[in-house]
Point group: C2
Chain length 589, copies 2
Amino acid sequence: MLIEVSHPERLQALRAELARIGVDGFLIPRGDEYLGEYVPPSGERLAWISGFTGSAGMAVVLAERAALFTDGRYTTQAEAQTDPALWERRHLIEEPPQEWLARHAARLRIGYDPWLHPQAAVERLGAGTTLVPLAANPLDAVWADRPAPPAAPAVPHPAAYAGRDSAAKREEAAATLRAAGEEAAVLADPHSLAWLLNLRGGDLEHTPLPLGFALLRADARVDLFLDPVKLSDATRAHLGNAVATHPPRALQGVLEGLAGQVVRVDPDITPLWFSATLQAAGATVKPGEDPCRLPRACKNPVEQQGARAAHRRDALALARFLAWFAAAAPAGGETEVSAAEHLLACRRALPLFRAESFPAISGAGENGAIIHYRATEASNRPIRANECYLIDSGGQFLDGTTDITRTLWTGPGTPPADLVERYTRVLQGHIALARLRFPQGVAGAHIDAIARAALWQAGLDYDHGTGHGIGSFLSVHEGPASISRAARPIPLREGMILSDEPGFYLPGHYGIRIENLLLVRGFQGLARPFLEFETLTLVPYERRLIDLGLLSPAERAWVDAYHARVLGEIGAELEPEVRGWLEGACAPL
Amino acid sequence: MLIEVSHPERLQALRAELARIGVDGFLIPRGDEYLGEYVPPSGERLAWISGFTGSAGMAVVLAERAALFTDGRYTTQAEAQTDPALWERRHLIEEPPQEWLARHAARLRIGYDPWLHPQAAVERLGAGTTLVPLAANPLDAVWADRPAPPAAPAVPHPAAYAGRDSAAKREEAAATLRAAGEEAAVLADPHSLAWLLNLRGGDLEHTPLPLGFALLRADARVDLFLDPVKLSDATRAHLGNAVATHPPRALQGVLEGLAGQVVRVDPDITPLWFSATLQAAGATVKPGEDPCRLPRACKNPVEQQGARAAHRRDALALARFLAWFAAAAPAGGETEVSAAEHLLACRRALPLFRAESFPAISGAGENGAIIHYRATEASNRPIRANECYLIDSGGQFLDGTTDITRTLWTGPGTPPADLVERYTRVLQGHIALARLRFPQGVAGAHIDAIARAALWQAGLDYDHGTGHGIGSFLSVHEGPASISRAARPIPLREGMILSDEPGFYLPGHYGIRIENLLLVRGFQGLARPFLEFETLTLVPYERRLIDLGLLSPAERAWVDAYHARVLGEIGAELEPEVRGWLEGACAPL
């Protein structure tokens, strides 16, 4: 990677604007007003000002100095993409912005855009300086060629995929407001309005969201704030009379109309602007969880069936890709980019496929050790014989979202013993989690260690969580549950879909990660209800990297049964050559 | 168990006293002013007023009604020991006192003794009523024949066992106060003063504590508040000039002398009286952890050596007991009480033994399923042939505290298959935890599931934590670390000693628990420091209850290696008959 952009004039223009409006500095987070993982080009403020294009980070611009904060995943990328003459590069965790601000801006007045930060973040950042909310974003004022916000159509998500009527969902969510004595709830997360209203959109490349906001009333009516160009008559008809649609500029007025009412606001996922506006209008802001967050995570039976179908379809693409790769990789001539494109082409041929659920991570050799690697024209690397190759990708299908990682040996030679041992330990952790049963009430934070114990035994570990939640034709990363020690312990529940993706990374050499998606389902224990996982992903593991001497009989039997299931579920739908490859890949170990 | 006491006149006297001092009710917790697990007879207020003798509970007495709150462990005992005409029995967790107070005492003024409740508890209890701190305890006023508080001598804990000089400990703890800008810390937990001053006592039956309070100053001096009769000249000489000794009545004056200073108080383990007194005097109370709590939990090398030696000695007593039991149990004629007495006699014969570390749990058949069972004259039950017997016991040795549980088959017949399967699953969890390695930073809450997974797989579980911390010739239950999902995640550290005690309980039939103590020690991982456990306990498992078909080869090898180690470490010190029994018990499976 090279320095792609260095725009001293942008920084200069921002500083002039800051001086004009009378603040000493400005905070530029990576997120936009929807606070999500992905932002449309119109929201790429951090990239515009700094050049850094990673998915997490924050910049602070003062009159004389500017700093970019990124986490460990992005240290190298931040250094490559930003101009050291303009930007100090800092570690987001080890020297967080609030400490830097306390050191360099303790007596200054630092502006921020209350649309771009949740309340908790503002409280944290304001610990060492004076933060000033700004009515208009000064960066937007100087961003002359800023792209227009996306305006893709919002379309109904058919009942055949959504599984539940929006009216029933609204009534259930509204009942939780009434039970809590609340008269409305802000839905600041577009995923929630998409789920609640059975609506999908195209405002982001990888997540089928219509970007907008909503307000749920205790009587189950909804106010939806969405650019009117996104709403066709058919979509308006789908929404029905209980959903009032408004242009985004009407939001403030509607919130002000809540004067005297009790309004639930989720402080973790809602821009501070909402609470500030409600409080100024005389409403009572009550912190509480977005009422759609948990029901959205627990997929209904139709969504569960959709997930199974989407994964069976996705498995066809993976089988075709892997059969192709088995021949192409040892021959040479392919690259990280060409392989990812081939996989995408396999997915594009499938019914109901809409988009990749995230930019594929296609890492050969040492690039596989970069956990959030993205192959670009600049970084693209040939895939060579006799090395490790990691491919983490997923699809957005109308009936479900997929996310799978496989680590492959390119061959034709024999893999080194240390690689085989480590792949096997990663697989053992992956299996241990997939097989686990546990009583209701157990959270992902409590079982993360199950997926690590085999690696830990050899003094090995990985620096990421074991699993994340996944939406239903929604985001590839979805809360509130996860399988991670770092997360708040949210008990797992029937219908949740989570990833199971332990790994091992040897920097400069190779990366291993094995990922399936798991559906949480019930299981009757002796004295109480238990839960267990149903594996949704149907793609064979890399048998050349498995050390049979390390696997227990039960682990080996599990792999054999899984492979038999893969072959049984998708074999008949594949072309003969691919089926032939799959039969070999799924033969008993 | 029968109703042992019903004293309506006590309740009547207390109510008259409440009326006299002008409050509508009174809270009677189980703990005394030291807030520990065990209380001396002078602190048994809850038992005196209600008859209930369990180790956790609370009573609320109003003018017309009175309620006793106990947790699930004690429901049966509370019903057996209290008079239903006098006491409503309530579940401490399902209907906590604050809810009961909100329902029955919302407009009343309820008194409490600020010496008997930590701050957090008062805040919780006061949610639904008006709580009034009382200057004198009205129950004490009517408890005519209240025993005198214990006054056993406080004696130096020799350097050969303590391993570190008190002056060095005081300097290190004081340094944490200086770093935090604090001028003193209240040490309300007698374990902390015992550890800090290398002092032990005899005020409780099972924990070698001198009951008292202390104040640590930022200059490393200590004020010790202890009944002067406990302090011999030799002990005073041991304490030295940097420790000022005061009678307990001097405490208030010394605290008032801290006016204008910043004083650390641990809100979880300090009676509210301390903060109230400090604040009234004009000191600034800063909530923070007792500075002795974490260093006390991390045993130094001498304490670690002591623990190993104590466990080797304790294992001799267990081997003698088990050899005797193997012959006595199938013959009949023994009881839960006689067996526990035999084990205690075996321990009493050992050098450095001082006391049981807790009242032994000796449960035959269905009594084994009562997790905190205590065999009494009333409950005592013969130990019969062909049943399950659970014995959980421990010793206080000058060089260390032990705690071990074994579950035995009395024979001579073959145990039923379901019992064998469940014992084996408990053992698998016990082994999985004992073998586990994990990176620094991992807490007990994160690995509790490791000990449960084998049971969970069969839909089984146990309703208690997997492990607790243990002191060094101190309490058998010691914080801050534990192995439990319910606990705050405190990272494990080198030198901590924790129990590993999964179980399974089939009410009305049998209870299984297997417990060893584990010492946390370092282990160098590939890229970071790891931790692992050293098993301290050296006593064979019940081989007749192990299903070899369920054990993995690694688990079987672990048991064989452990048994070989047991025989190697203690075999030579045993009498020939016992050694002969041990050789059989420790033969490869």
